[in-house]
């Protein structure tokens, strides 16, 4: 057990038992799984993706590439970083992608065959036979953890929030920026990814205003959280910066007990990016061995969790930061073998720190090998004086620092390479993004705090003149060693594997191979070697890849450039993104006043247009669809049926120019429509194709009521409103949607007049009430508008009533029709009735290619009108001519032959002039009225082929049919005009 007796921010009174790779261990409240593993001397935490080399912890944060685990005890979640899992009682986790265990993994054979697996080897082989054969094995080896088996029971929430200033990151610079911004009285929101605020101050013994930094953090954060204009979210990751300063963030531990995670849409006018920086590894043979760790990570395990990675450490660096850690190692009782510094001359300040801790410094040193497979035994290095091997049990290395410029880059920012800090740092301003501190390449604490004050001060100066509020002073800090770095790349042709991407096993040799094969753009190198495409998305490795490529090509790092930073900054659960709306909420289920009644009365429901649910048919016990449809159709044809037409779109058009507008919208004339009458209108799209049809009534001199198809209601409203507001702005018409205000119940069938006649009413129903008239009045004391409109081809009265009285009137009609066995009718039946009548449906026969003449609706097209939407395109169709698909009827020779919608049409055997695809069936059914199969179809040159034979070719069956007029029942429409 290497847990220090005291120190660390853990609760030693609360031990926690946990299981890792089948073995039981013990940690404390406040540990992460990673820190508990370090404290229990567990070195191997996983296996690498390609070579399956044993891997240990490299970092102490979310950028960890090696310690990916399957969290069996909490939803069996795959690919979690051990560094980010707070330890819980009875936590159980396993390393991913190793079998039978992390210690002994059969696939480690790959590292023996490594020479056969250079970068991109799979493009050059596996070509004999089909790839499916090889991919079956490769897919088993690929993938890390396994996808959870059970349904995700988590509840999620998605919220929208607006702030004047959003501050991402509550490290020292973030806290200072929050202090200054809060004083201005603006709305401030602060997000921080860690469990508690403070950033790197949680891990390093710094002084602020002469006291321990942690006191400064807890006092300042406490004050800020109490302020009314500050919203503070801990354990919340800002994952992406999108257009117009929209930042998406995921809150992992919401206060509401029923929520697993909450997704935030934050619209801010200014975004201060204080996300800090992460340490970068050095490149040397064996830099992936368990026990080789980043220097800052080792310090964090010691400081924060009192967990000690080893007894005897060797430090390897190209920059100044590890020199400040010597005291931490010393006080933890760790012997520092020596500091190997790649640089020829570390600064005097750095050397004096080493002297104070009596640590030997070897300059111009290069590690050439690490001894030990599943743990470090020793290190071999070279410097001017030759090669030496020293014993140590863990190695801490630091290759510099990578500013986390992800959010700045998402915002559209172009980073630039800064030679002094050997890092890509933010360039000019991008949107409202203001990077500060480590994220801005400012690694010193003092400078970061000063930068925070200055930037926060300027955020609102422009809008409020000079700063009219008091600005909290930048806190004082003790002096620190100036950050110095000298990037020194390993010489070419290095022996042994030196890794740049730990998870995807990408070595310096792979980078050299890619450049050698002419993959020279950084994007090509990334895709060919898969460097930076692993789960950590190259957070720590990419800058090294850029450095190696620039060395291979002999170009500056700034011209090599970075690959694109894509959201999310850290992986986000799909539950958080889309789990808030489940089941019935995914798209609205729109209802009419009769929907509940339909369901209670046994309707089989179906999806209509525009998210409406409507009855398909009303099966009685023992009936299948065909039986119910036959019964319902017979009722409409012979006695009385009733159906709910409320989903149809209903728009009120008011104003003196409404007649002129309708003339331009419909193919036929409407300005001459008398008040009290309706007219069937056909609407085209500008390209002359069928768009929608329906009846429009003239209710008053300047007031019309238009009805249109359920699915077309939205597009028709947009079409008319667009024309009124962007093209014909001179027309005096207002368009008002009243679809849900009216319920429409259609009483149809020969006995419709008798059924309605039974009701106490002031509306005369005698034949003077002609087809397409409407009359206002009352039925059983309820105000209604009754119109003679028929979609079934039978005598039909559409009773329109205000929503508030709809269900009451519906029940009255059902009661009145009981003695005539009034039958509720579903859409499948009304579909059959429509086919029998040959009524054209823009959605079926239109099929986006049919014009009115193709559909045999020339009778409704008034080409004498000066203009209407689609007319110019009809003139083009007429002029250019050529073969077109026409709407026809089809009568199979075998009257009982089943025909499926969408069946293709082929020429009959004997016709020699035609071959191949001739068209398709748009709507087919067995007609209970005609006791035979009938169909409507689109057929090439159909209007000139009546009487010809065609083959209807369906998937299961095909038959021969005769082409006819597309109307099978009461073609002249006498019944509906009775």
């Amino acid at each position: 057990m290497t847990r220090l007796a005291n120190g660390g921010v853990i609760d030693r009174q609360r031990p926690l038992r946990f299981t890792f790779n089948g073995k039981r261990y013990q940690g404390y409240e406040g540990d992460t799984l990673a820190s508990a593993l370090v404290a229990n001397d567990v070195l191997i935490v996983g296996r690498s993706f390609k070579y399956h080399r044993p891997r240990g912890l490299l970092t102490c944060g979310p950028e960890e590439p090696n310690a990916l685990v399957q969290l069996v005890s909490d939803g069996d979640q795959p690919n979690l970083r051990a560094t980010e899992i707070p330890l819980r009682e009875d936590l159980e986790a396993r390393s991913v992608n190793c079998w039978p265990s992390a210690k002994f993994d059969l696939r480690a054979i790959n590292s023996v065959l490594a020479p056969l697996f250079p970068a991109g080897f799979y493009y050059k082989t596996f070509m004999a036979g089909r790839w499916d054969f090889y991919s079956r094995f490769i897919r088993q080896a690929a993938g890390l953890g396994h996808s959870p088996k059970e349904r995700d029971q988590g509840r999620y929430e998605r919220v929208n929030h607006h702030a004047d200033v959003l501050i991402v990151g509550a490290g020292p610079s973030g806290i200072q920026a929050a202090r200054v911004s809060a004083e201005t009285g603006h709305d401030v929101m602060v997000l921080d990814m860690q469990e508690s605020p403070g950033g790197h101050l949680l891990f390093h013994p710094r002084q602020i205003d002469g006291r321990a930094a942690s006191d400064w953090v807890s006092r300042e954060v406490g004050e800020l959280q109490a302020r009314e204009n500050v919203t503070w979210l801990q354990s919340t990751t800002a994952t992406g910066y999108y257009d117009h300063n929209m930042v998406i963030a995921v809150q992992h531990e919401p206060a509401e007990s029923w929520l697993k995670e909450r997704l935030w849409h934050i619209r801010a006018s200014k975004v201060v990016i204080a996300t800090g920086a992460v340490e970068r590894p050095l490149i040397f043979p064996g830099n992936d061995r368990p026990g080789v760790m980043l220097a800052d990570a080792a310090v964090r395990y010691i400081r924060r969790f009192a967990a000690v990675p080893g007894k005897r450490v060797l430090i390897y660096t190209n920059n100044s930061t590890p020199y400040a850690h010597l005291e931490t190692f010393k006080t933890a009782g760790i012997e520092i073998q020596s500091i190997l510094d790649l640089r020829k001359s570390p600064s005097e300040a750095e050397l004096s720190l080493a002297r104070n801790s009596e640590v030997p410094v070897i300059v111009d040193a290069r590690i050439t090998g690490v001894q030990g497979r599943s743990g470090v035994k020793g290190v071999t290095y070279q410097n001017g004086a030759g090669t030496k091997t020293v014993r140590c049990d863990f190695v801490c290395h630091s290759g510099g620092w990578n500013p986390l410029i992800h959010l700045y880059s998402h915002a559209g920012g172009r980073s630039r390479f800064e030679q002094a800090s050997a890092a890509f740092v933010p360039g000019e301003r991008a949107q409202g993004a203001y990077p500060i501190g480590g994220a801005n390449g400012t690694f010193s604490l003092a400078e970061g705090l000063k930068e925070a004050t200055d930037v926060a001060n300027t955020l609102f100066c422009e809008s409020v003149g000079n700063s009219a509020w008091s600005t909290p002073a930048t806190p004082a800090t003790e002096d620190e060693v100036a950050y110095r770095i000298d990037q020194i790349w390993p010489e070419k042709g290095l022996k042994g594997k030196a890794f740049v991407d730990f998870q995807n096993d990408v070595t310096t040799a792979d980078i050299a191979l890619a450049v050698r094969e002419n993959f020279q753009s950084i994007e090509h190198v990334k895709r060919y070697t898969t460097a930076g495409m692993a789960v950590d998305q190259g957070k720590i490795g990419n800058p090294n890849v850029i450095g190696l490529v620039s060395r291979e090509l002999g170009e500056e790092q700034s011209s090599v450039g970075t690959t694109t930073f894509r959201p999310p900054f850290a992986p986000v659960s799909f539950g958080a993104i889309g789990g808030s709306e489940r089941g019935p909420l995914i798209i609205p289920a729109r209802t009419t006043p009769m929907t509940a009644w339909n369901i209670e009365n046994g309707a089989a429901m179906d999806e209509a247009g525009a998210n409406f649910r409507r009855p398909f048919f009303f099966p009685r016990p023992g009936e299948v669809m065909e039986d119910a449809v036959a019964r319902e159709a017979a009722a409409v044809r012979t006695s009385c049926g009733i159906y709910d037409g409320s989903p149809l779109g209903t728009f009120e058009l008011q104003g003196p120019d409404t007649g002129e507008l309708l003339n331009r919208l419909y193919t036929n004339r409407f300005d001459n429509l008398p008040v009290g009458r309706g007219r069937f209108g056909l609407m085209l799209r500008e390209d002359g194709r069928l768009f929608d049809d329906g009846v429009t009534f003239r209710v008053d001199q300047n007031r019309y009521l238009m009805s249109c198809g359920t699915g077309a209601a939205g597009p028709v409203y947009a079409h008319i409103d667009r024309l009124l507001q962007t093209e014909w702005t001179d027309l005096n018409v207002y368009l008002v949607n009243v679809s849900a205000a009216w319920a429409t119940m259609c009483v149809c069938g020969p006995l419709a007049r008798v059924v309605l006649g039974k009701l106490e009413s002031d509306i005369a129903l005698d034949p003077t009430f002609q087809f397409l008239d409407f009359r206002d009045g009352a039925l059983e004391g309820i105000n209604v508008r009754v119109a003679r409109v028929s979609y079934t081809g039978e005598l039909s009265f559409e009773v329109n009533v205000a929503r508030r009285s709809a269900l009451k009137l519906w029940k009255i009609l059902m009661e009145a029709g009981k003695e005539f066995d009034i039958t509720p009718v579903g859409s499948e039946t009304s579909g059959v009735l429509r086919i029998e009548k040959g009524f054209i449906s823009p959605g079926h026969e239109g099929d986006n290619i049919t014009n009115p003449f193709d559909a045999g609706m020339g009778w409704i097209v008034d080409m004498t009108k000066s203009d209407f939407i689609g007319k110019r395109s009809l003139l083009r169709d007429i002029k250019l001519g050529g073969e077109r698909q026409h709407v026809v009827g089809l009568l199979p020779d075998d009257e009982r032959a089943p025909v499926a919608d969408g069946s293709a049409l082929l020429p009959a055997q004997e016709s020699n002039s035609r071959s191949g695809f001739q068209g398709h069936v748009t709507a087919a059914c067995f007609s209970p009225t005609l006791k035979r199969t009938i169909a409507l179809a689109l057929l090439k040159d159909g209007q000139n082929r009546h009487g010809e034979k065609v083959v209807i070719s369906g998937l299961e069956n095909s038959c021969v049919a005769t082409v006819t007029e597309p109307a099978f029942y009461d073609p002249k429409g006498e019944r509906m005009r009775a």
Partner: protein
């Protein structure tokens, strides 16, 4: 071009992989070529390959403003299918599928073409009708497309676990067994290597800034690396069709809109087929060979060249995915990006001559990856012979002036 195989890898392993050849030469541009192709993606490089292989025209340059395959070829969701509605689309996409299945051998470069099959869920009677119409049309052209019962869907996709109160219950599916997935980067690299080996000059970091004409005929292109003369210029620049065509004053019936895609962290195999949940938000997903769940959705709702997408698209697609695969709730989104589609008014590709003699265009349409080899082959035929390939006769610009569109979707009702 030395042949790639396991033996070539073993041979090179002995010498530490130091002797591999360049995949392509990256020469400086000559002053004149017979044909210049603008755009170094799958379509452009493929056209150059077929010009050399099938028409013997090798004095060809492919000009790419960035890096090969950096446009939509590197940004799509790898799906290849031929389930379409119209007789003018099915044969063309079938040709593409056929070519894809033999390209690895022809190019001697493993494109990792896995024939996973595609299942589209049927969630309403309207969806059922359209599926039947597609199936019947495809049946005529020998493309198998079968209806599946709900049980067959469950049997093929074990993790299919629809929530009980699903807004649009899945009634069954329609299945194209031959639909496949192809490693997208390898298409560009494979074509580039094979075209380069036949003498085609592939020139990166060479942006075309203008097209020169004399008396209505193309004479050359101005580029960031100087003037290059040519009597025939082919454009295959998905996402920039309008920009390049405007250099000869040619307006096109397309809008450039982002098409987003994203991947989860890699997990062990759980999903074999490509799955389409059409009735919600047109969401489709599959699992890559590497183990990532790859998800895509319809295009963003407004034109953009920003090569990034808007977040609600991902939210809606994820919501519909979780309705059918609720166990993916704890899987994590790893990375999301966007390609830029030139979406034609009628949703079908445009492979056509133009009003300018010698200037030919290949506009990939919505989802140009599935048509890459067929478009490249027919585009090469058009450039070489100046007449359309039989399968691409209906794909010219004439269909817009005649109004005889190939309505594969993509029509906006209020135009």
């Amino acid at each position: 071009m030395k042949r790639f195989s396991i033996f070539s890898i073993a041979r090179n392993a002995l010498t530490g992989h130091r002797h591999w050849e360049k995949m392509w030469r990256s020469p400086d541009p000559k002053r004149e070529y017979d044909v210049v192709i603008i755009g170094g993606g799958g379509h452009g490089l493929g056209a150059a390959y077929f010009l050399a292989k099938e028409h013997g025209i090798t004095n060809v340059a492919v000009l790419e403003k960035g890096w090969l395959g950096g446009g939509n070829t590197g940004r799509n969701t790898m799906t290849v299918r031929s389930n379409f509605l119209r007789e003018d689309s099915v044969p063309f996409h079938e040709m593409s599928l056929d070519l894809y299945h033999q390209l690895s051998r022809d190019l001697n470069y493993n494109l990792m073409v896995s024939q996973r099959g595609m299942i589209t869920f049927i969630q309403s009677s309207a969806a059922n009708r359209i599926a039947l119409q597609m199936a019947n049309t495809m049946h005529i052209y020998g493309a198998e497309y079968r209806m599946l019962t709900l049980d067959e869907v469950k049997q093929k996709i074990p993790i299919f676990d629809p929530s009980p109160n699903m807004r649009l219950p899945v009634r069954g599916g329609v299945y194209q067994p031959r639909a496949s997935m192809v490693r997208h980067d390898a298409v560009a690299w494979g074509f580039a290597r094979a075209a380069d080996a036949r003498g085609v000059d592939i020139i990166q970091n060479c942006e075309v800034t203008g097209i020169q004409q004399e008396k209505g005929a193309v004479t050359g292109v101005e580029t960031t690396r100087g003037l290059i003369k040519a009597k025939k210029v082919g454009m295959a620049v998905a996402g920039h069709g309008s920009v390049v065509a405007s250099m000869v004053g040619q307006r096109l019936p397309i809008t450039t809109q982002p098409l987003q895609a994203w991947v989860s962290e890699p997990v062990k195999p759980v999903l074999n087929e490509i799955v389409v949940i059409r009735s919600y938000y047109g969401t489709y997903l599959m699992q890559s060979d590497k183990g990532e769940i790859v998800v895509g959705q319809g295009a963003d709702p407004y034109p953009s060249y920003a090569q990034r997408g808007t977040f609600p698209i991902i939210e809606d697609a994820t919501t519909s995915m979780l309705e059918v695969f609720p166990s993916f709730g704890r899987l994590k989104l790893l990375r999301h990006w966007a390609g830029m589609l030139d979406i034609p008014y009628d949703g079908s590709p445009i492979i056509s001559k133009t009003n300018t003699c010698g200037f030919y265009i290949d506009v990939a349409g919505s989802g140009g990856f599935k048509t890459t080899p067929a478009a490249a082959n027919t585009f090469a035929h058009l450039i070489a012979k100046d007449t359309p390939h039989p399968l691409a006769e209906k794909l010219g610009l004439e269909r817009f002036s005649s109004g005889r569109l190939i309505q594969e979707g993509g029509v906006s009702a209020n135009r």
